[in-house]
């Protein structure tokens, strides 16, 4: 564990610079440049709003903000997890030339995706102002909820990073699992009202993304506090995953180069 802290400190500057470089190079050659970071989520929101708000007639309060929170969080999780499966292979030029703790690559991705998430969140705030959503103290719960999101995403990513090196077609499996999760996370519908009694509780508690999403919406839009016990359980689970994942990577990372 000490090694982990030391390595994170040593490579923190690199992580920041690398994330910055990726973000800059992403927009370097497009006409609308950084506007895409805003346009991208806004366009998807409009699509989902049209399909679920108008075609299927969803009746959630503050529906636009409701979908947007869902999309923002899901995008961060989905992108980071998906990218970490092939992360070692995609960074072959680095990995085969110098030593670096491989989970640093996950941190870089999390920073990049986190930055995009922050932009989406700014849009959520604007929507909340437009809707005149009444603010309560419960909005402070956003902080621990985001923390759990980061820990869980990192934990899952470390394992995928490791197995992604050895299992060639893991990304196909992960795509399917993520798609399933996408639909049972309730990004554009409310699990609590759309599903029958026992199932909705099972999903909102047993699927961490559904739990985080529902709690975030409750905290930000409807002024309710999240279920702290379940939040703590997921935090503990995320930490456990992260610790095991870091150990696994430390133990095996020098063999990765031989495989890719």
């Amino acid at each position: 564990m000490n090694r982990f802290i030391r390595d994170v400190k040593q490579y923190s500057k690199y992580t920041q610079h690398s994330a910055k470089a990726i973000l800059k190079s992403e927009v370097a050659n497009s006409y609308l440049n950084w506007l895409w970071w805003i346009l991208d989520p806004v366009c998807f929101m409009i699509i989902y709003y049209f399909i679920f708000g108008i075609v299927f007639g969803a009746k959630e309060k503050y529906f636009l903000a409701f979908i947007f929170i869902g999309l923002t969080i899901w995008d961060f999780f989905n992108k980071t997890v998906m990218q970490s499966v092939k992360i070692v292979k995609n960074n072959k030029s680095i990995v085969s030339k110098v030593y670096l703790p491989k989970y640093i690559l996950i941190f870089v991705k999390m920073l990049v995706n986190g930055f995009k998430m922050a932009i989406s969140f700014a849009i959520v705030v604007i929507l909340m102002i437009i809707y005149r959503v009444p603010l309560t103290v419960n909005i402070l719960h956003v902080v621990p909820l985001m923390l759990v999101l980061f820990v869980l995403t990192f934990g899952i990513s470390t394992f995928l990073l490791h197995f992604g090196v050895y299992v060639e077609d893991l990304s196909n499996v992960v795509t399917i699992v993520l798609r399933l999760m996408f639909y049972i996370t309730g990004i554009f519908y409310n699990i609590m009202t759309k599903l029958e009694a026992p199932y909705n509780l099972v999903i909102t508690r047993g699927n961490p993304m559904a739990f985080l999403l529902t709690s975030l919406r409750q905290a930000m839009l409807y002024g309710e506090a999240p279920d702290m016990i379940i939040l703590l359980i997921w935090l503990a689970f995320g930490l456990l995953l992260s610790v095991c994942g870091i150990r696994l990577i430390y133990k095996n990372e020098n063999s990765y180069v031989k495989v890719i």
């Binding site: 690199y14 299992v167 077609d169 890719i260």
Partner: protein, 242 residues
């Protein structure tokens, strides 16, 4: 002061069991596939004194590069130990973590940080690197616009200017055009003339090795065939390769 900078004992590196596995393959094939085992380095032991230059020669596939990577800490050995006595080490290599859309200047910073240097140190060395690379106004252009020669020149300049206690050089002496070749060769010499620096060079160029090295190691199929005085070893090597 320690006498040796690098001590390698009974180093073995093999590539067995490490073929990537796929779920599809294992579903379709019930029989166990034979695991190919390939030993790249077998029971190699040697030591390099501090400030000395070791040359490594051998035909392609004799395990030279694998050993260099193990020394640099990128590969883990299957058995045996590598003791660097706490020295910093870098593998002089081409294009570490270049971000193609970014300018050369930004990439210097990024690569330097990957090699473990602090931001301040790299910034202080920045002008030296840029001057050495001699890319002119291209240094502020995205790396993707570079020709392959310019790319390697920049990469070489970064690793050659940001110096570590031990430098590993893997056949990169022939980078760039005639003028840059000369420049990088001189740079190598000045790097090497510093008596605190330990250098390991892999090369196929007999003249480079005989001129620069204090000792030459000849590797054959992952084993040390001969180690000792450059002229003696190179003579035997030339004879063997005929």
């Amino acid at each position: 002061m320690e006498k040796y900078a690098i001590e390698v004992k009974d180093l073995c590196i093999s590539y067995k069991n490490l073929k990537a596995y796929s779920i599809k393959k294992s579903l379709l094939r019930f029989k166990k596939t034979k695991v190919d085992e390939f030993e790249a380095v077998k029971n190699v032991s040697f030591a390099v004194e501090k400030g000395k230059i070791l040359g490594i020669i051998g035909k392609n596939g004799s395990g030279k590069s694998t050993m260099m990577k193990a020394l640099a800490g990128i590969f883990s050995p299957n058995s045996g130990t590598i003791d660097l006595k706490g020295n910093t080490i870098s593998l002089l290599s081409i294009g570490v973590g270049f971000e193609k859309e970014m300018t050369g200047r930004a990439n210097i910073l990024l690569s330097g940080m990957l090699l473990g240097f602090s931001e301040e140190f790299i910034r202080s060395k920045m002008d030296e690197i840029i001057k050495f690379a001699g890319l002119g106004h291209f240094i502020d252009m995205p790396v993707k616009t570079y020709s392959s020669g310019m790319y390697s020149k920049l990469a070489f300049s970064i690793t050659a200017t940001l110096e570590t206690d031990i430098v590993l050089i893997d056949e990169v002496l022939s980078v760039g055009d005639q003028r840059f070749k000369k420049k990088s060769y001189d740079k190598m010499k000045s790097l090497i003339s510093n008596h605190d620096r330990t250098v390991v060079i892999v090369s196929h160029s007999l003249s480079t090795l005989s001129e620069l090295c204090d000792e030459v190691m000849w590797m054959e199929d992952g084993e040390i065939k001969m180690i000792g005085d450059p002229d003696e070893v190179l003579e035997k090597y030339v004879e063997f390769m005929k």
